[in-house]
Symmetry: C2
Subunit: 330 residues, 2 copies
């Protein structure tokens, strides 16, 4: 079944959730929203293109999930509570089945976080999904990149590098992104790439605790580098402290994982800084949001970022992040 | 000169304007904005794809202008005051010259309306521009599609159909969209397609005057049909009352124009309804915002929409609007 533009919009609209602060949702020239008093608005936009941000064979439901996840991850890094989003969907043709599967993945994640779709656009063109997500945070409470202080600890959530390992396995035709893997370790890795978990609850819990935060989308060191640049500080990362991947170990891929974990993108974990006095509070946060947090280094005065190995030497890294103009399509 | 993703963002960022309500602009995980107290938020998203929404030979500056214009037009139709926007730009390659020209057109219009770019995304892919524009309007003051009442007049701004005529002339290779036309009438038509004027001032002036409003993006009758459907009313449009095009007349194209004016899209005029008691007020509005307003029919009880010719007969129209899945690329 093929759809026209209006059939496609209707198919998506009927899935969207309700919120009391939506005065007018999809169906007018624009959405009309009632921001909460005393809150600031947090706005982010991220686009996923076929062949650049996901392999062509990625299931529609995974694309729907991930397109929203990367935006929720930005809200998480600001400590914001998700509220509304708009979706611009370019499709080469409008298959009802594809749209329904896309919507299934998209709304599965949207409903988890109470974010409502309030508008958007559907156009004909190569597959591309652009989402603008809006959240709210009390004035002065947002997490920013520019607050890191010398002496702060550097923390990271989860296990950055697993998504990059899954991507490498797909490129080597070891992992099929389009179906469930045969064993749980490979499936864990596949889901880290296909269905990243935005750390929304963690971001909210870090308000008043973290001094700076960023989400790990371009690579751990590249994104930590953004904190350093904006805060005017330097970072020492202890190679030995970087989280290990149990899944990589089970797949006998620890060496490959270790080569990727500081530089691979697409994990959507949070990297943040916090005073040493917050260590106990962060251990409690870890338990309450059920996300592993690892202390991986410290902030010092100066500029730049270095990785220090077990012997105290500085590790030289050839690639410190992911540039979307170099994309996976190459 | 070719750019990487970060060079491209920097090239756009340095052009963007300032606003006191931007707590954090481009450069963090998300923008942080301070909505004005008592205001509601108006949000719209529109995407333009090469070959679908504009010919491939369109100059970059015109693409930049138009991509923002179609979004400002939606804010205008809500009576909103533009505030902030985000830009997602997919480019097949990142040429510094192309980006500078795009930014020139984009910011020329942005600066006219005081809308600031607060974030976005640049990715590699076929040329596509997705913008989310945000505006503000006092609670309860937004223009909507659902307020038309039987007995209301139907009004339209400007001369819908001129953009459609320009598109037809381009398709017939009479008009070159990539350069200034030889005579002023053809140039007028070209600019109606390439540089539409969002009716932002008019939209704001219609608050408290119009009962319903829509922007003419898909075609006059198609968009008026949205008002009828949402308001639960019918519309009679007087064919004879539809605005004539002086430019079309100068080009000896009145017949072609008349065949298009009720159905062609892309004009970004406002179509709205208002009580007869507002006629004098609307003549004053017309003078104050310097946009022609034409009364083209009336709302009555019932459903549907008909065009009535000079003899009182009902005109049958074969095409009532523009479906983006049928696009100009076909």
């Amino acid at each position: 079944m093929s759809l026209d533009e209006f059939g496609l919009i209707e198919r998506i609209r009927r899935r969207t959730g309700a919120r009391a602060d939506i005065v007018l949702g999809i169906g007018d020239d624009a959405a009309l929203l009632q921001p909460a008093p005393g809150q600031q608005l947090v706005v982010t936009t991220d686009t996923l293109n076929i062949g650049v941000h996901f392999p062509a064979e990625t299931p529609a439901a995974d694309i729907g999930w991930k397109a929203l996840a990367v935006n929720l991850s930005d809200l998480a890094a600001m400590g914001a509570t998700p509220a509304w989003c708009s979706l611009s969907l370019s499709l080469p043709d409008a298959s009802a089945q594809w749209v329904d599967e896309f919507a299934q993945g998209f709304f599965a994640l949207a409903d988890l976080h109470g974010i409502a779709l309030i508008g958007g656009d559907t156009t004909r063109g190569p597959l591309s999904i652009s989402i603008t997500a809006m959240g709210q945070v009390a004035a002065g409470q947002a997490l920013r990149r520019d607050g890191a202080q010398p002496g702060d600890d550097i923390w990271v959530s989860g296990v950055p590098g697993e998504a990059g390992l899954a991507l490498a396995l797909w490129q080597q035709k070891v992992l099929d992104v389009s179906r469930v893997a045969d064993d749980s370790a490979h499936e864990h890795l596949r889901l880290r790439l296909a269905r990243p978990t935005p750390r929304v609850e963690l971001g909210r819990a870090l308000r008043g605790v973290a001094t700076a935060a960023v989400d790990v989308s371009d690579g751990l060191l590249a994104d930590l580098g953004h904190i350093c640049a904006r805060s005017g500080v330097a970072a020492d990362v202890l190679e030995n402290a970087l989280p290990a991947s149990a899944a990589a170990q089970q797949c006998a891929l620890s060496a490959a994982f270790n080569a990727l974990r500081a530089s691979a993108g697409d994990d959507y974990e949070l990297c943040f800084t916090a005073p040493q006095a917050q260590r106990q509070a962060l251990h409690e946060t870890m338990a309450s949001v059920a996300v592993p947090l690892t202390r991986i280094g410290y902030i010092r005065a100066g500029t730049g970022l270095q990785v220090i190995n077990q012997e105290g030497g500085v590790v030289v890294l050839s690639k410190q992040g992911y540039n979307h103009f170099a994309g996976i399509g190459k």
